[in-house]
Amino acid sequence: MLSIKDLRVAIGGKEILFGINLEVKAGEVHAIMGPNGSGKSTLALALAGRDLIDVIHGSVKYMGENLLEMDPEERAKKGIFLGFQYPVEIPGVSMVNFMKTAVNEQRIYQGKEPLSAGDFLKYMREKKELVEFDSQLTNRSVNEGFSGGEKKKNEIFQMALLEPKLAILDETDSGLDIDALKIVAKGVNAMKNKDKATIVITHYQRLLDYIVPDQVHVLFQGRIVKSSGRELALELEEKGYDWIKAEANGHTP
């Protein structure tokens, strides 16, 4: 589904990723872990098409197509979803209007009829239940005045509405209490099927108790320095990142 080959990117002339290779197949869940500043969010944003990020080398194929040539909205319509680490507040733009526009853009792209206002509200109600999203929040402006946890749940709610093929969740677990974490995980798991894939970016193993990854990758200083099964996450939890850093720098612990 997603094939990243030797991806090198820079922000404002400063290279952040130094050759990422990653293969994600349909049905899989990948976890990307790593210390702060290792380039995890940059990778997520590069995949979503943020124009601040300059791709200087490498290729990204998504469902056989060149992802890097697509506008962010085209990527979204083709089924890529980024759950933001820091969801953006958009004063004045209502949640309903925002998501109705997004859902209908996608439907039109897929050759379906856009949903009427009434049908959209019905659809929204179903999804709200799925992710246990506070019904009052959809009456507000996008993320405006939402608590940290509400913002993250809102990301999962939007994901549920858009039903992406490839979801990239950038630290959706940070700032969540254990109940909210379970809800987020439930939302992700509910959408899991053989045609879909998820990339979970996280600092902590905790989320991976609920969303079980097929593979865990450690990103350090702009490179994937280790890839393994889910036991790697447990090892990281136990030992921290120092041994990875040492290994990456050519020392044995």
Binding site: A48, G49, R50, D51, D71, P72, E73, R75, A76, K77, F81, L82, F84, P87, V88, E89, I90, P91, G92, V93, N97, F98, M99, T101, A102, E105, Q106, Y109, S141, V142, Q158, L162
Partner: protein
């Protein structure tokens, strides 16, 4: 000869026509106004008040002035509808600066309310007009007011006697429609006595493609406990320049709300002066403007808190694209006796291009010590993070921009009380943001091929 000198000469030449049928006190008022004008002339860029809008430039072309009403051989309301769906209004038309009466020039409603031509009111009710005319708009304060006072012959007159309510909103359509470049002066006077309420919607349009310069003065007297709402939609073509001078005098516990939506035009300057003359008066002054190409929009507001316990609230928003320029100058004056004043002012602007330019100048002068005042101004671009956030959900960038601009504008539109009007303005703003209001040959209106008035 300078432009100002030309108008002084013109006044001398036409004085007898201007005086015709007017009561004698008008002669004095006009002469005083011309005297003031001869002392100051048109304000130039050195004047702090007109720092950001060059009047010289817009007065430069040769304009003709019309000294009598236009004769038209069609019903203006048939060819031109500035309609607000689901809103019943009383439609009044000011054609080329003159009240366009269909039969009666001044109508008396059952409850004693008078609506119609100011010139006619001057003839029939000189004492009533005299009590208020030129009492709030001072020729000394501004050359434009002086010029208007000297030259304006007609406009809309509304009188709401004590205790009465104007049931249907009055919709005034100002139409310049001539066959040559024209300077127009019109004068409105709205008198609301104690405990009255009224609503006026003003639509500024153009129906012919010539160069226009309108210099209008509107005086509003809001008596004790009067409630008045004044909404304007300014939608003219690029060669049409609009200078509006609004003077509002508020007495005890009166509430006046003005909302100016500027959609399209050449150079537009709106002066709004509010005098809070007695305790308990409340003023709301709102404005939204959308400009592109080389349009220029300048909103000047002066709120004079002359009495204690008054409130004022200003909110002005401006979206500028391409080479458009804008200015906002908001002054709040709290006089020494005006204790317990509550005065707020906000000005937010969005620049859509690198060439668009905005000048924002909040001005607070507070001479009382027990007041609550605030002001804030922001000028910036659309939040790139928000745009990307929406794009990442599949919303095309242009649509994301639209959603954000619309959200920005919404706060001002929300202030309009009349729901059908609010919906209409919503619709117009949406069309304007999508560029659908300004397609026809540099003109914002669908003029068609109308036969021009004689």
């Amino acid at each position: 000869m300078s432009t100002s000198q030309e108008y002084i000469e013109l006044f001398r030449e036409k004085e007898s026509i201007l005086e015709k049928d007017s009561p004698s006190f008008m002669r004095e008022i006009r002469q005083d106004a011309m005297h003031e004008f001869s002392l100051t002339g048109l304000p130039d860029r050195k004047s702090e008040l007109y720092k950001y809008t060059s009047l010289q430039k817009i007065f430069e072309p040769k304009y003709s002035i019309q000294f009598q009403p236009s004769k038209v051989d069609f019903r203006v309301e048939d060819i031109f509808t500035c309609d607000v769906p689901n809103l019943r209004t009383r439609l009044e038309i000011i054609l080329n600066g003159f009240y366009f009466g269909q039969g009666s020039m001044l109508t008396r409603l059952d409850n004693g309310i008078l609506i119609g031509s100011l010139a006619e009111a001057l003839r029939l009710h000189p004492d009533l007009v005299k009590e208020h005319f030129a009492r709030y708009a001072h020729s000394r304060s501004d050359g434009l007011v002086a010029l208007n006072t000297a030259f304006a012959q007609d406009g809309l007159f509304i009188y709401v006697p004590r205790g009465q309510t104007l049931k249907e909103p009055v919709q005034v359509v100002h139409l310049p429609m001539t066959g040559l470049d024209t300077l127009l002066h019109y004068r409105n006077l709205f008198i609301l006595e104690e405990n009255t309420s009224a609503e006026v919607i003003v639509c500024d349009h153009t129906l012919s493609p010539f160069r226009f310069l309108t210099n209008s003065v509107t005086e509003i007297y809001a008596g004790p406990s009067a409630r008045f709402s004044y909404s304007r939609v300014q939608n003219e073509h690029l060669n049409s320049n609009l200078l509006t001078n609004l003077f509002i005098n508020q007495e005890r516990d009166s509430q006046v709300k003005t909302n100016t939506i500027t959609l399209h035009g050449g150079t537009i300057r709106n002066n709004t002066h509010v005098l809070l003359n007695a305790p308990g008066a409340g003023s709301e002054v709102y404005g939204l403007s959308l400009s592109d190409r080389n349009q220029h929009i300048d909103n000047f507001v002066n709120i004079d808190h002359a009495s204690p316990n008054c409130t004022s609230n200003q909110l002005f928003k401006c979206i500028l694209d391409e080479q458009a320029t804008g200015a906002f100058n908001g002054r709040i004056l709290v006089r020494p006796d005006a204790q317990k004043t509550v005065a707020f002012q906000t000005n937010n602007n969005i620049l859509m291009s690198d060439e668009a330019k905005m000048n924002s100048k909040p001005q607070l002068e507070i001479y009382a010590d027990d007041v609550k005042c605030s002001h804030g101004a922001t000028t910036g671009q659309l939040d790139e993070n928000a745009l990307f956030y929406m794009q990442s959900r599949g919303i095309p960038r242009h649509e994301a921009r639209m959603l954000m601009l619309y959200a920005f504008a919404h706060e001002v539109i929300e202030k309009v009380d009349v729901v059908p009007l609010k919906e209409r303005i919503n619709d117009l703003v949406d069309k304007r943001l999508r560029g659908e209001l300004s397609r026809c040959n540099n003109c914002s209106m669908a003029c068609g091929n109308l036969s021009l008035p004689k």
